[in-house]
């Protein structure tokens, strides 16, 4: 009985043997393997027994464990596949693969990406009347209001003086009339 190194010998597996070992390493029973591969259960057991003999009469569980270890080793990035051997079998390790480039892409202080409100939006409705009361007419408000206001003062002054003159004239007439 030949005792082979752990992992050795798996590289010369046939496709049918590899298919059985894949399902065996997945924890399937002989009956389940037979159902998946459309084989008889006795055929599956024969293949498993042959492989157990090749690896020194190890148990089914040991055979499955060695095969799992061998597939992880063979498909890792460090070792890659065996030199010159192409395999259509791929076993993806569930453990996180080591990433050489640990640099993460994230926005930092040096990224220059700063969010700010670039536009102040007013929700005021322009068609609504202004809240400030309109105290003086438009003509009396603004750049030219000085001259306009001075003119208004002059007009009011003339009106007052005219009223005063008329009033005094009327009073004088009344005085003369009543005096007679």
């Amino acid at each position: 009985m030949t005792t082979m190194e752990p992992g050795a010998g798996f590289s010369s597996l046939t496709d049918k043997q590899a298919a059985v070992l894949d399902l065996l390493a997945d924890g399937r029973t002989s009956k389940e393997i037979a159902t998946v591969l459309d084989l008889s259960e006795s055929a599956v057991n024969r293949r498993i027994e042959l492989l157990r003999t090749r690896f020194g009469g190890i148990t089914r569980l040991e055979l499955a464990r060695r095969y799992r270890d061998w597939t992880v080793t063979e498909t890792s990035p460090e070792t890659g596949l065996a030199g010159g051997v192409e395999s259509d079998r791929q076993s993806l390790p569930l453990a996180a693969m080591a990433v050489n480039d640990q640099k993460l892409i994230e926005d930092g202080q040096s990224s220059g990406l700063v969010f700010r409100d670039s536009l102040a939006i007013s929700v005021d409705q322009s068609w609504n009347p202004a809240t400030e009361p309109k105290v003086v007419p438009r003509v009396l408000d603004g750049e030219d209001a000085v001259l306009t206001r001075a003119a208004v003062i002059a007009i009011i002054l003339v009106g007052i003086l005219a009223s005063l003159v008329l009033g005094l004239a009327a009073a004088g007439s009344l005085t003369e009339t009543l005096g007679r």
Binding site: S126, W127, N128, G142, I153, I160, L164
Partner: protein
């Protein structure tokens, strides 16, 4: 003229209280000028120890009137109000009365007294109306501009009609 003096004094004091309570910058400046002219007039007559004269131009009245006219006109040109325009005009009536009296010696005493004295009473009434109107506006709209804008409003800032469609 005692009752007229009492009326003028009481009204002035009431206006001072109203301006301090409800008035803004223009109201307080105008009331301050009224107080200053009244107090200055009393001080003047106390110093010269005589009542007002209307047979000739009274310098003691001319100077305060010119001072008041200058202040009232400045407020009238700058305030966001209408009544200071009337106050300024009435004050100019007082000022003109002095010059007319100086130019025309035949100006009647009554006319000179009316032109010189009566505008002050009208100014008190206009001031009362202005403070009342300001208080009413402020009660309705809240605080608003005391002084007029120094530039013309932009063409697009007038109220627009609401969007349709």
């Amino acid at each position: 003229m005692g009752w007229m003096w009492i009326f003028s004094t009481v009204t002035t004091l009431l206006l001072v209280a109203a301006a301090l309570r409800w008035g803004a910058g223009p109201e307080r400046i105008c009331v301050a000028v009224i107080i200053a002219t009244n107090v200055g007039d009393h001080i003047y007559h106390f110093v010269v120890a005589r009542d007002a004269i209307y047979t000739s131009v009274d310098i003691g009245h001319l100077v305060p009137d010119l001072f008041a006219a200058a202040i009232f006109t400045g407020v009238a040109l700058r305030a966001n109000r209408v009544y200071p325009l009337w106050i300024s005009a009435f004050q100019f009536v007082s000022v003109i009365s002095h010059f007319v009296r100086e130019v025309d010696g035949h100006m009647g005493i009554l006319a000179y007294a009316m032109m010189n004295y009566m505008p002050a009473n009208f100014i008190l009434l206009i001031m009362a109306g202005g403070i009342w109107a300001h208080a009413r506006r402020e009660r309705r709209y809240g605080p608003y501009r005391q002084w007029r804008t120094s530039s013309n409003p932009l063409p697009g800032t007038s109220p627009k009609s609401p969007p349709t469609g």
